[in-house]
């Protein structure tokens, strides 16, 4: 794959921001790290930090897996984070402006910057949201932006945005638990470094959610987290966030809508709900509006929402902003809405719906990554260099049949970070998902995010459903 970029080492030299860690690691007695690894696993199991794997039939804890946790942190120097933070703020602001625009005046379509049919005929576009005003004009109050770093020919590396997750991004609980685990296992490391804290994330989240409450409430807004239930893969996170914020964790069957207001069923009768941090997809929110067979949502919820009597966070219809067919236009959105140059780069992208792009993609399938435009979670994608001939041919047929369903990108040489694997410490590819909170008080985030690591040698797929692990992410303060 040509040039590689390692976060810790440059040839024989250790990068400045990793030197403290390297010295510390050299001082650890043999066997120490292995003992700590085992300790971490026992603790994660007891705490029940698990996720469910779809498709497993086994009952009991067989369906609950631990996400492998790697002991070696991913370290980001302060100046790099400052730039990332500014770029994230800018990008998420523009995406929220875009969402407001497409559901109101549609100026960006009229200006011909994003082709109208790309938006209006997109399955992720929700006509139900046309003309609906959401508090603060903020649609995606919790966004997870996937960032990768790839080597440049001169041996340096650049950050790129790989995907925007504007619907229900998950993983923030792992960011918080990984930090807690590292502090518990290696308190001395935290004395040696000035590591920016992340533990206040739930506070920022609650502040954000409360800021988006409907206007004119007589009392403090009641915030809840809406989960599909304990068999959902991210249930731990839903329960964790509700607990950390001190709010109720509700399921659809706990909610009832009356006269366009939402209530939850409590031991003392119905109690009004003002803000719902929902962790279920649009399709399942309300059987009267979306999928009629959904048991996860609550009948009448969307009606109450459109009446402005309850806030859904994220808003309905945000999927149009993170659809992969819209992704190529984000840099232009930033210029259109904010009049600024984009700080973060997009990965160069071929939109297969364009004939000349399709021709290029078909001719170079072996070297490209091909993704479904509505796909997520590492499913429905082809990593050309790692695929078998049969897989490549299968994708070729799919591409020819429905070119508009795909985009393609060059196979980026993702940066690596030293990681504990069976054979010892070896470089493995990583990415980064910072969580960006937008409320009426502005855009906020905690430094860093969730670092995911592809544990298989050479693999570029970091998704936990596909054998990925996680690391603690340190932003070093100067």
């Amino acid at each position: 794959m040509g040039i590689m970029f390692d976060e810790m080492r440059a040839g024989d030299r250790t990068r400045a921001h990793y030197q403290g860690y390297e010295r510390w690691l050299a001082d650890q007695p043999p066997g120490q790290m292995q003992a700590r690894r085992e300790e971490a696993e026992v603790i994660f199991r007891r705490v029940g930090i698990t996720f469910a794997v779809y498709g497993d039939k086994d009952s009991g804890e067989g369906t609950e897996r631990l996400i492998p946790f790697d002991l070696i942190p991913r370290v980001i120097p302060a100046h790099e984070w400052r730039e990332l933070e500014a770029g994230l703020r800018q990008r998420v602001t523009a995406l929220n402006r875009f969402l407001h625009d497409v559901y109101h005046e549609q100026e960006i379509l009229k200006a011909g910057i994003v082709p109208a049919e790309q938006v209006l005929e997109n399955a992720q576009f929700r006509p139900e949201m046309m003309g609906v005003n959401v508090p603060g004009q903020i649609y995606s109050s919790i966004a997870g932006i996937d960032i990768v770093r790839a080597a440049n020919p001169d041996g340096s590396a650049s950050y790129y945005v790989l995907e925007d997750n504007m619907r229900v991004p998950s993983g923030v609980s792992y960011m918080l638990e990984n930090r807690k685990m590292m502090m518990r296992l290696f308190p001395d490391l935290f004395a040696l470094h000035r590591i920016a804290p992340v533990a206040h994330y739930p506070d920022l989240l609650l502040e954000t959610l409360r800021s988006l409450a409907p206007q004119g409430l007589a009392s403090e807004p009641t915030v809840v987290v809406l989960t599909p239930g304990m068999y959902n893969s991210a249930y731990f996170e839903h329960a964790f966030l509700a607990q950390q914020m001190g709010v109720e964790l509700v399921e659809g069957k706990d909610l009832v809508v009356k006269d366009r207001f939402v209530y939850m069923r409590t031991t003392h009768g119905p109690k009004r709900v003002d803000v719902i941090y929902r962790r279920i997809d649009d399709d399942f929110l309300d059987p009267l509006v979306f999928r009629a067979d959904s048991q996860l949502g609550c009948a009448g919820l969307v009606d109450a929402y459109k009446a402005g009597n309850v806030t859904l966070s994220n808003a309905v219809g945000t999927g149009i902003a993170d659809d992969k067919s819209i992704y190529p236009y984000v840099p232009e959105m930033i210029e259109f809405y904010l009049g600024e140059k984009p700080i973060l780069h997009n990965v160069p992208t071929w939109q297969c719906r364009k004939p000349e792009a399709l021709a290029h993609v078909l001719a170079n399938l072996k070297d490209l990554v091909v993704k479904e435009v509505h796909g997520a979670g590492g499913y429905g994608m082809l990593v050309g260099p790692a695929a078998t001939k049969a897989e490549v041919e299968e994708f070729r047929n799919a591409l020819v049949a429905r070119p508009d369903n795909y985009i393609a990108q060059p196979t980026l040489s993702l940066s690596t970070c030293p990681t504990y694997v069976e054979s010892g410490i070896a470089p493995r590819h990583i990415d980064l998902r910072p969580f960006v909170l937008s409320g009426t008080q502005g855009v906020q985030m905690v430094p860093g995010g969730l670092t995911r690591v592809a544990l298989k040698q050479g693999s570029l797929v970091v998704n936990s459903s596909q054998g990925g692990g996680t690391k603690d992410t340190w932003v070093l303060e100067n």
């Binding site: 007891r46 304990m230 249930y235 509700v250 399921e251 409590t266 031991t267 003392h268």
Partner: protein, 320 residues
């Protein structure tokens, strides 16, 4: 609090309590089996254990003949039986997981760890190697769960629903145990003894029978303390039914249920509170001779029905 949350809390503690009481009964039966006794008596002991939890048909369908080892394995670790200790600990853990945000981290972790370690204990063959150690372990984990709840949880509604669940279950379990055990000795006509030695054997058997009943509810020393007397069935019944100071008696359990019900009372729970209060008052003013005169079995059957109804009423008023 969400009704669904209250429901999970109620069942979490019920299942934990049931696991503990099951372990207690198994332990006592196991201890009794170490004493010299005829094979018939030993089998009757295991059979009565199955009937306490109404498991006799399920067991017979599965394994046929009563066999000490198989009965223990069935009650401890049968995956399919909803009353096995394994199933109870799993259900307690699943209910806790559904409301882990309402529990303190310590309470959740204790419940989760109990489930994880119990299966390790089973896998390691502890039941065959040292049954008493396994039963003791389950009891200890129940003590721990209770202590952690008391020591870390905010004393609010959540704790009340946990309490209502565990005391209702305990009242039910004590009543069932007493019913079966009392019946086993007192209910059957005794053979007239031929000589004095026979009579003393009988007295010894009775002593062990009643002391094991007491031990199953940690009541042996309590009995001595309360009555300073030899062990007689009437007093055992009195202690386990009417003595409000005995933590596993019906009177005590119903007192705790009533106390917590009063604290969570809502607009629709008036009738439920009345019924709970009535049940408690009747225990407060009953006399053991009256109960025995009308028949203990009939009394306990009636009590179990009322506790069952109370559970349904609570569910209707608060949990749905």
């Amino acid at each position: 609090m969400l009704s669904r949350t209250a429901d999970h809390l109620f069942w979490q503690s019920r299942y934990m309590e049931r696991a503990e009481n099951t372990a207690r009964l198994l332990d006592v039966n196991y201890q009794a089996s170490l004493l010299p006794q005829s094979p018939e008596v030993a089998l009757a002991g295991w059979r009565s254990l199955l009937s306490i939890y109404e498991l006799l048909p399920a067991y017979t369908a599965r394994h046929g003949e009563i066999d000490a080892r198989r009965v223990q394995e069935f009650i401890v670790g049968d995956e399919m039986s909803p009353s096995s200790i394994l199933s109870c600990l799993r259900a307690a853990r699943e209910n806790a997981r559904a409301v882990r945000g309402t529990l303190t981290t310590e309470v959740w972790e204790t419940t989760n760890q109990t489930w994880i370690e119990f299966r390790q204990q089973l896998k390691s063959g502890l039941l065959a190697r040292d049954p008493a150690a396994l039963f003791e372990w389950v009891k200890l984990r129940a003590h721990l769960a209770r202590g952690v709840t008391l020591g870390t949880m905010l004393q609010d509604e959540a704790v009340d629903f946990l309490r209502i669940g565990s005391y209702l279950e305990r009242a039910d379990n004590t009543a069932r145990m007493l019913d079966v055990k009392f019946h086993a000795v007192v209910g059957e006509p005794r053979e007239p003894s031929e000589d004095e030695a026979g009579a003393s054997r009988n007295a010894a058997a009775e002593f062990y029978h009643w002391s094991s009943v007491l031990r199953s509810v940690s009541g042996f020393e309590v009995y001595r303390k309360a009555y300073s007397n030899v062990i007689v069935p009437e007093k055992v019944a009195q202690l386990l039914i009417l003595n409000g100071a005995m933590p596993r008696s019906l009177a005590h359990c119903m007192g705790r249920v009533l106390h917590s019900l009063r604290r969570v009372a809502n607009a629709q729970s008036e009738e439920t509170l009345r019924l709970a209060g009535k049940l408690k008052a009747e225990l407060d003013y009953a006399h053991i001779d009256e109960i025995l005169a009308t028949g203990l079995h009939a009394y306990l059957t009636q009590f179990l029905k009322r506790v069952g109804d109370l559970g349904s009423d609570i569910s209707r008023d608060f949990l749905t």
